[in-house]
């Protein structure tokens, strides 16, 4: 089967193509060079006047794992307002803030996304994360494994184990839990909450372990680098949501001493405490620090107005935030000497000063970070807003007059506290393609994805160019997944199953001697039963694993 996409305007930043008209050929699921000779084209799509990009990749979205399922169970009323009927092709389910798995896959694909990554895979909950993601159709998926408050690591650090031993443990966890990166959430803070600490600053010690968050971050960032993972340490910083936390975030950037680090949902970590309400934007300082420190990448975690639910591993901060729960019900859990979670429904309101300024801080961050390869488009789904709001967010970034119209509707005091009106920047289509495709693939370390190069898998999205960017990005004309048409005119026309992206760094297996003792003494599961086997991913006949090369080897 040879498919030809004819005459579209190509936005392929990985190959330096920004809007030039080119043809694309697809064969056996992959993009190929223009075939020599007269190979017959089986199917041709006339894409004149259309915009062609790789399939979009969401590098931080809570789509699989226990906290999401608790969020679903907690809010039946949020599903009742958004029922999704079965069709001949697709399964039924429910939507809004935390959609069911099938609906998650369909809706992402219908927006032109072909891959999504769960950023908080607790090792002990990794089985569930993978089982849920296995029920997300069409998309490729993967996860970052959460460390940093697990007792095993904190014991290692307290015992001053050397970096090599830490590296071995990190690699072992990646193999056992099947991840592509390492995540830290409120480093050491989830553990500290179990010892009844209610806050933990970057240089504050865990009351039981002789360890600070700064030390945990530095050690894990070093482990990630030395193991050769492409994806930098993925960091949800200390003091999420606390006014004044911009200082913590700047210190975190300094404290990592040039090691690669990805700061996630940085909007929630960019707050000053100026002004009448002791809450202000730190976005300019953060953006300046990102611009200056080339080792730092960030995704925004944009807040959008409306009902959502926040689901986080950061039970320390989520417990504090329960006072803002709307509706007033919430869950916190301590989990298996491994981590924790907190689920708090939120209703972000444009007439609430704090919410309004959060919205503006996110946009300031997008617009003030200069290098589009180091900033990524997220709402931290569902924490800032459900992923369905991405097209609206893209319009806010690309359309200054629309942005200013929206700005005029928010809380008047918040309008005074943001520089947004004075920022002229409008994102280009090429920059959007970097944020949502090329940059994401590069930072995650995905081989053969996120670029329209011959040899790559043909994950391709085609849009009709439209000055209303929200309309344009809401409803692609075509989405191809691995070379097959899965979405036409914004609706699923074929259901297939994506792969699970992982890395498998080498390590010294003698680390299992210590782990075996630890599991036998303290854990509630045998070591052998803890490790996820490959067949658990593949035995349903739909799933597959794709192991990516380590740093330096990704084209």
């Amino acid at each position: 089967m040879l498919i030809k996409l004819t005459g579209g305007a190509i936005y392929d930043p990985a190959n330096g193509i920004a809007g030039q008209q080119q043809d694309i050929y697809i064969q056996n699921g992959r993009i190929i060079d223009r075939p020599a000779g007269d190979l017959p084209v089986d199917q041709e799509y006339d894409l004149k006047g259309k915009v062609v990009m790789s399939g979009a990749i969401d590098l931080h979205t809570h789509i699989g794992g226990g906290k999401g399922n608790i969020a679903r169970t907690l809010l039946p009323e949020d599903h009742r307002i958004d029922p999704v009927s079965r069709t001949v092709l697709t399964r039924s389910g429910s939507g809004h803030a935390m959609p069911s798995t099938f609906v998650t896959g369909y809706r992402y694909a219908e927006m032109g996304y072909t891959a999504a990554f769960e950023p908080a895979v607790l090792p002990i909950n990794a089985r569930q994360a993978h089982m849920e993601m296995a029920d997300i159709p069409i998309l490729d998926k993967g996860g970052y494994v959460l460390l940093g408050s697990d007792d095993f690591l904190l014991r290692m650090l307290t015992a001053k184990k050397d970096q090599k031993a830490i590296n071995d443990y990190v690699a072992w966890i990646l193999h056992s839990a099947k991840g592509i990166g390492i995540k830290v959430v409120n480093a050491g803070g989830i553990s500290a909450f179990k010892f009844n600490q209610r806050k933990l600053d970057l240089d504050e010690k865990n009351s039981h372990y002789d360890v600070t968050p700064r030390q945990i971050l530095h050690t894990l960032a070093k482990a990630v680098k030395e193991l050769g993972l492409t994806h930098p340490l993925h960091v949800h910083g200390c003091n999420l949501g606390v006014p004044g936390n911009v200082e913590t975030t700047l210190n975190t950037i300094e404290g990592i001493e040039g090691l690669p680090m990805h700061l996630t949902h940085i909007q929630f970590h960019s707050y000053g405490k100026e002004g009448d309400f002791k809450f202000s934007s730190g976005a300019a300082q953060i953006a300046e620090a990102i611009n200056r420190n080339k080792n730092i990448t960030a995704d925004v975690g944009q807040v959008m107005f409306g009902q959502t639910v926040t689901a986080s591993g950061d039970n320390m901060r989520q417990h504090y935030n329960h006072r803002y729960a709307n509706p007033n019900k919430w869950v916190c859990m301590d989990i298996e000497c491994d981590a924790g979670c907190g689920i708090v429904p939120f209703k972000y309101q444009n007439q609430n000063f704090v919410n309004a300024l959060q919205w503006a801080i996110g946009l300031e961050t997008f617009l003030l970070v200069n290098d589009p390869w180091r900033i990524f488009l997220t709402t931290d789904h569902p924490n800032g807003a459900p992923f369905m709001s991405y097209p609206h967010l893209i319009r806010l970034l690309m359309d200054k007059s629309f942005r200013n119209d929206m700005l005029a509707t928010i809380h008047p005091e918040a309008q005074k506290m943001t520089t947004l009106a004075s920022i002229d920047r409008e994102y280009t289509l090429n920059e959007i393609a970097i944020l949502t495709r090329a940059g994401a693939a590069r930072i995650i370390g995905l081989q053969d994805r996120g670029a329209l190069s011959p040899g790559n898998w043909a994950d391709i999205t085609v849009y009709t160019d439209n000055a209303d960017r929200q309309a344009m990005f809401t409803k692609p004309d075509y989405v191809f997944k691995d070379g097959e048409l899965v979405v036409k005119d914004g609706e699923v026309v074929q259901v297939k199953w994506g792969t699970t992206h992982i890395v498998r760094p080498d390590f010294d297996h003698s680390i299992e001697q210590d782990l075996l003792k630890y599991f036998n003494s303290f854990m509630t599961m045998k070591l052998g039963n803890f490790k996820i086997s490959d067949d658990e991913i593949t035995e349903d006949g739909r799933g597959s694993l794709t192991a990516h090369p380590l740093r330096g080897a990704v084209a």
Binding site: N69, P76, R80, Q128, R155, K194, C332, M333, F522, I532
Partner: protein
């Protein structure tokens, strides 16, 4: 004959995974780490291996075709039991979605007590490893914990080593309501549990009194349900002096009207203690024979726990209206598909056509139209099951080659027939 070690159990709910099981052909013997729940469940012999239609032995293909025929022509199918592994629940929900069935897990009336509290106010809970390594005061409300899980104390409280307790013997165990059925709660050093007994029906009032005391309200009564107020106050004093108190309850044991309000009171006490700058966690029991599994898989597939209807083409959740027995009593269903992969208890008796996917050896008061003996997850095939603490899924092992099909295989085969015939 072989011996398989580190076998996880789907029966007890507490994720026991240290069983040694001897396999001799189809016969299993628990050689070590058995208990009154797990040993009989693993050792239950296989008696029938062949499907039946109207009591006559048939091939699997014939039984599957007959089941598909029954389900093709009904107006409101009802899928009860729903006691299986993750793959089985996936297949069950796929079939239910296709034909518009009601799906109802057999333990949902118990789980509902927790779900209603969760969906109204939420909770702060913990998991087994935190309990094992941190819990210094355990309050057990209205539940015979060792009756629920005979090895609970041995595995999770009287463990020799713990990361954050000097000596596990020093844990304080308090029973409120039901008294324990045995002595498992006595520590190895001989320390006995404190028992404050009251009738189940008095628990709402007792929990209300605990809540009031915690909020600093003055109570005029000197006793509540025969318990001295000073004793109730001392429970709170212990929880508030604890480093990591845990309040445990078993929803199944709270068998009185509106027990969800008692669950909610327990959860609120936990939250209030945390708001008084002391750590404390709740710990609901459950997880036996696929109940937690059903709720989890149904949760991510539909957005709701395992009492949903697909009749209108999309999932609807109602914790009351979609109850199996109610639908049968009201004659609102016209076919019952019953799935029970873990035990041989018969389905509820009914006059409507009945298809049973049951554990080998299931005995019926009335022979169903279709009976397909299925494999038990964790014995006859590999699979996944959820423990009581919700976030931990265990990998179940295949122990023997019985040839019995899995729930997922049978239900997928039925769906395959219906899919072809409706295209």
């Amino acid at each position: 004959m072989i011996e398989i070690t580190e076998v996880p159990s789907p029966f007890c709910g507490i994720g026991t995974d240290d069983l040694n099981i001897q396999v001799d052909g189809l016969s299993l013997t628990v050689k070590s780490h058995g208990c009154a729940v797990n040993t009989p469940a693993f050792e239950l012999p296989i008696s029938d291996t062949q499907p039946r239609v109207d009591g006559q032995i048939v091939s699997l293909e014939t039984a599957v075709a007959k089941a598909a025929n029954i389900l093709r022509d009904v107006r409101q199918p009802l899928f009860g039991g729903c006691a299986t592994d993750v793959a089985g629940m996936r297949a069950l929900l796929a079939l239910a979605d296709r034909i518009g069935a009601v799906v109802d897990n057999t333990a949902f009336n118990n789980a509902r007590r927790n779900m209603l509290a969760l969906q109204d106010t939420g909770w702060m809970n913990t998991t087994l490893a935190e309990l094992k390594n941190r819990c210094d005061v355990l309050l057990i409300v209205g539940t015979d914990l060792e009756g629920f899980a005979p090895r609970f104390f041995e595995r999770y409280l009287w463990n020799e080593e713990s990361m954050h307790l000097g000596n596990t013997n020093s844990r304080e165990i308090i029973y409120l309501g039901k008294s324990p059925s045995g002595t498992a709660s006595t520590s190895p050093s001989g320390r006995q549990a404190t028992i404050l007994p009251c009738a189940d029906a008095d628990l709402p009032e007792v929990m209300a009194a605990l809540s009031a005391l915690l909020k600093g309200r003055k109570l005029q009564a000197q006793t509540i349900a025969g318990l001295a107020i000073s004793d109730l106050q001392s429970i709170l004093d212990k929880l508030k002096a604890a480093n990591y108190g845990v309040i445990c309850w078993g929803a199944a044991a709270l068998a009185f009207e509106h027990a969800e309000l008692t669950v909610q009171a327990i959860c609120s006490v936990v939250k209030d203690i945390n708001n008084q700058e002391v750590r404390c966690s709740g710990f609901p029991l459950g997880g036996r024979e696929g109940d937690q599994t059903a709720n989890q898989v149904c949760g991510w597939t539909t957005g709701y726990p395992a009492r949903v209807s697909f009749a209108r083409g999309f999932p609807e959740y109602d914790p009351f209206l979609f109850e199996t027995q109610l639908l049968l009593n009201n004659k609102e269903a016209d076919a019952l598909l019953w799935v029970q992969a873990f035990n041989v208890n018969p389905p509820p008796s009914t006059e409507i056509p009945c298809i049973v996917l049951g554990r080998s050896g299931m005995k019926f008061n009335k022979e169903p139209q279709v009976f397909i003996p299925i494999g038990t997850p964790g014995i006859d095939h590999a699979g996944h099951a959820y423990r009581l603490d919700n976030v931990v899924a265990i990998r179940l092992k295949k122990l023997r080659d019985s040839g019995l099909p899995s729930t997922a295989q049978v239900l997928s085969a039925i769906e395959q027939i219906l899919q072809v015939s409706t295209c």
